[in-house]
Subunit: 224 residues, 2 copies
DNA sequence: ACCTGAACACCGTTCAAGT
DNA sequence: ACCTGAACACCGTTCAAGT
């Protein structure tokens, strides 16, 4: 497998030259085949028939690899602008789509929390959000910081849900039990509270609720 | 610390019997000595002069180990209730304390995002938050879900800041450049926007701003 | 039941050497 | 400059065997 003379031509898919694009392609393949938790430098390198060291010319670290991927996935997002749909509805829809997309690849969502997946698709998403918040009369700072806050929340929602699904997190029953066992002396407010409420609601309900809180807050604009 | 026979007295610190408490003690020591990113099952086990397998009788996995620790750290939190301080100020103060505490141990903050550190101190924190939101006239659901949202935001803030400090994240300059390079055709709204705003503000300012958004949203209570 | 050594199945990253 | 094999320095978790 070194400088091979033009033998039979296509004995194998012909080892592609390394490049950022080739890496993304290989990574997408690994993602689909092995799942997000297996999306490691080593596996992508193996997919490219090389050692892990080779990738470091193109990606600074794993987090960057993840960010690269996320932007790729975002290509599937529906970012169409629709005059007739109220801004709030549209925003709910796009964030819901975004969370769904990330949730399918739980591990990636964790990375999304720490890097802005700075690719063209992510920029398009930000562009749409900005347009929506502007149409809701948010001023510059509120819009910009608000987008950060909204995406942060979406990322957490995806990561949390994925953690729950993979069994890495703790189950809600456990949490409910702890809350219910609040001591009357040490935690009087909690003891007098219907703690079941904490764990109520479907993920969807809670996401929607939380986003509304955010949007209410953003459009209230106290400017304190 | 156990019922020790009066032998020669202090030949060694006397290998303590394993227990959840002993594990927490050892973990706190590792945390202080080696930092949060080194707080692994293996290191804590080594600290206890045993193999990693031994800990699995007491902790289900690393995440649980982290959760245990977080609750321990929360012991230092000032949770006093003060009639004279307006609820909003008090809430800002306690969340700010909480974030500071977690930020010092960045890696732990990441775990806090996926487990409720269900120990007595965490319950006390929740108790205080509940009391504060109730005094702001939030109904049950709004208070409970709101606390979840607030803590989520605090956890992210801590984790993000820690990631930035450790160099794992991406630096803001990079992000600013990407945003500024928005293409006029593909990202018209962004191109016409002063993208510098996205990365403006100190962490403190942004935290305070975000929490106010949350609180504004929570106290608005649209009930849609 | 509790505890353990050893193994299993991996990681990310760096380095010295090649081309 | 780009690419690589090999090594470094770790991980979490499980298992079979002991007490």
């Amino acid at each position: 497998m070194t400088t091979r003379e033009p033998i039979s031509r296509r004995e194998r898919p012909a080892k592609p030259a390394l490049s950022r694009e080739a890496i993304i392609d290989a990574a997408l393949l690994v993602l689909e085949r092995d799942g997000a938790e297996k999306l490691t430098i080593r596996r992508v390198a193996a997919e490219l028939d090389t050692g892990p060291a080779s990738l470091y010319v193109y990606v600074k670290n794993v987090t960057v690899l993840h960010a690269l991927l996320i932007d790729g996935l975002l290509a599937d997002l529906d970012l169409a602008w629709d005059d007739t749909e109220p801004w709030r509805e549209r925003l709910h829809r796009v964030i819901s789509d975004y969370v769904d997309l990330l949730t399918e690849h739980g591990n990636l969502a964790r990375s999304a929390m720490f890097v802005w997946p700075d690719g063209p698709h992510y920029l398009s998403l930000v562009d749409l959000l900005l347009r929506l918040l502007q149409s809701a009369d948010a001023d510059e700072k509120t819009a910009a910081w608000g987008i950060d806050l909204i995406l942060q929340h979406a990322n957490i929602a995806a990561a949390e849900w994925a953690a729950r699904a993979s069994g890495t997190g703790q189950d809600l029953d456990e949490l409910a039990t702890t809350l219910a066992s609040a001591d009357e002396r040490r935690h009087p407010t909690l003891a007098a509270f219907d703690t079941a409420v904490f764990v109520q609601g479907t993920p969807d309900e809670r996401r929607r609720w939380a986003l509304d809180i955010l949007l209410d807050g953003i459009t209230t604009k106290r400017h304190r």
